[in-house]
C-alpha cells in the first residue's frame, strides 16, 4: 500500500540524513526514489562525505562505504528498534577517527538497544561494559574466558 511505503521511506530517510553527518563528522546523505509509482519504485543511496561531490556510491572508499552502510542500518533501527544488534568486525576498514565517532553513536543508541560486537580494535573494546574472550587453548575447541581490557588487547595480539 502506497502510504505505508511512503511512511517507511520517509522515516528511514530522515534517520539516515541524521546518522550520516554524525558518523562522518559532516557531509550529507539521503535516499532517493528511482520511479514515480510508490508501488514499484526502487531506492538509491546518495552520500557525500565532507568536502566531496562524488556522484555514485561506487566511488566511495572502503571505509566510507562501510560507514555509510552503518548509518543506513542505524537509521532502520530508528524505524523499528530490534531488541539487539550484533556486529561482526564492522569497524575493520575504519580509521581511528571514524571508529571514535562510530563508538560514540553506539554508546548513545545502547540506551535503547543492546549491542553485541566482535572486534580486534582496541578503541572499540573500550566501549564495552563486558568483555567475553574466546580462546582455543585446546586446538580446534572454543572456550570462554573472562578478560579485562589489557588481557583482551593481548588476546587480539596472540594466537
Amino acid at each position: 500500500t502506497r502510504s505505508r511505503f511512503r511512511d517507511t521511506f520517509d522515516k528511514v530517510n530522515r534517520g539516515f540524513q541524521n546518522m550520516f553527518p554524525r558518523l562522518f563528522g559532516g557531509g550529507k546523505a539521503s535516499l532517493e526514489l528511482t520511479g514515480d509509482d510508490l508501488l514499484d519504485t526502487g531506492i538509491t543511496v546518495m552520500a557525500h562525505p565532507p568536502g566531496k561531490r562524488n556522484s555514485t556510491i561506487h566511488l566511495l572508499s572502503g571505509g566510507e562505504k562501510a560507514l555509510t552502510a552503518v548509518a543506513l542500518v542505524f537509521a532502520i533501527f530508528h524505524l523499528n528498534p530490534a531488541p539487539f544488534c550484533m556486529l561482526d568486525e564492522v569497524d575493520a576498514p575504519l580509521d581511528d577517527a571514524n571508529v571514535g565517532r562510530f563508538c560514540a553513536l553506539v554508546r548513545e543508541m545502547s540506551e535503547k538497544t543492546q549491542f553485541i560486537f566482535i572486534t580486534h580494535n582496541k578503541i572499540t573494546m573500550e566501549l564495552s561494559q563486558q568483555l567475553n574472550g574466546i580462546t582455543m587453548k585446546e586446538p580446534g575447541v572454543s572456550r570462554l574466558v573472562a578478560v579485562d581490557l589489557d588481557e583482551a588487547a593481548a588476546m587480539a595480539a596472540s594466537a
Binding site: L72, L79, N132
Partner: protein, 168 residues
C-alpha cells in the same frame, strides 16, 4: 527485551557445553583469528531458523555439528539456546507474560531439527512467529555478518526497496 545469554553445545567449535553471558547493553567478544567468534553469530542466526547451509559457511546442514579436531572426535548433535530477558513484556502474543523466554534448536547428523520454546517442543513456525515485528530473524538487519556491512548500500534499487519493506 534483551538477550541475556546463549548456550552452545556441539555447535561448530563449541564442542563442550558453553554459556556466554550478555549482562549489559554493551558486550564485546574478542579473541584471535579462528577461535570461534563468528561461530557465535552463526549460532544466533541458526537458532532463529536459518535453513541454508551456504549462509552458515558450510556445504551441508550437518557442518554446524562439531566435526572433530586434532585431539577430539566428531560429535553427533549440536544444540543452541538463546535466553531472552522479557521482563518488559515486549515479546508479543501469548508469551508477553513470561519474564524469560528461551528458544532452542537441536540437530543430529541424520538432519531433522527440533525446536523448543521454554523447554517445550514446538515448530520452526512458532519461533519465526515469535520474532515477527521485532526486527529479528535469521537474515535480519540486526545481525551483521563479517565482511557484509557494505552490501547494504551496494544493493540494486529494487533490492533496497525490498530490504526497507521487510524492516518495517
Amino acid at each position: 527485551m534483551r538477550l541475556s545469554k546463549i548456550k552452545l553445545a556441539g555447535f561448530k567449535t563449541f564442542v563442550d557445553p558453553t554459556t556466554i553471558p550478555f549482562p549489559s547493553n554493551l558486550v564485546c567478544i574478542v579473541g584471535p583469528n579462528g577461535c570461534g567468534k563468528s561461530n557465535v553469530i552463526d549460532a544466533v542466526r541458526w537458532v532463529m531458523g536459518e535453513s541454508s547451509a551456504k549462509h552458515l559457511r558450510g556445504d551441508s546442514m550437518s557442518d554446524v555439528i562439531f566435526n572433530g579436531s586434532s585431539t577430539r572426535k566428531p560429535v553427533g548433535q549440536a544444540s543452541i539456546e538463546l535466553v531472552f530477558d522479557n521482563s518488559d513484556g515486549r515479546l508479543g502474543g501469548e508469551y508477553a507474560s513470561y519474564s524469560e523466554v528461551a528458544i532452542k534448536r537441536v540437530v543430529s547428523r541424520e538432519g531433522a531439527s527440533n525446536y523448543f520454546l521454554n523447554g517445550v517442543r514446538c515448530r520452526r513456525r512458532d519461533i519465526t512467529g515469535i520474532f515477527l515485528g521485532t526486527g529479528l530473524g535469521p537474515r535480519s538487519y540486526a545481525v551483521i555478518e563479517q565482511g557484509t556491512i557494505s552490501r547494504f548500500i551496494e544493493a540494486k534499487p529494487e533490492e533496497m526497496r525490498l530490504f526497507l519493506e521487510e524492516a518495517a
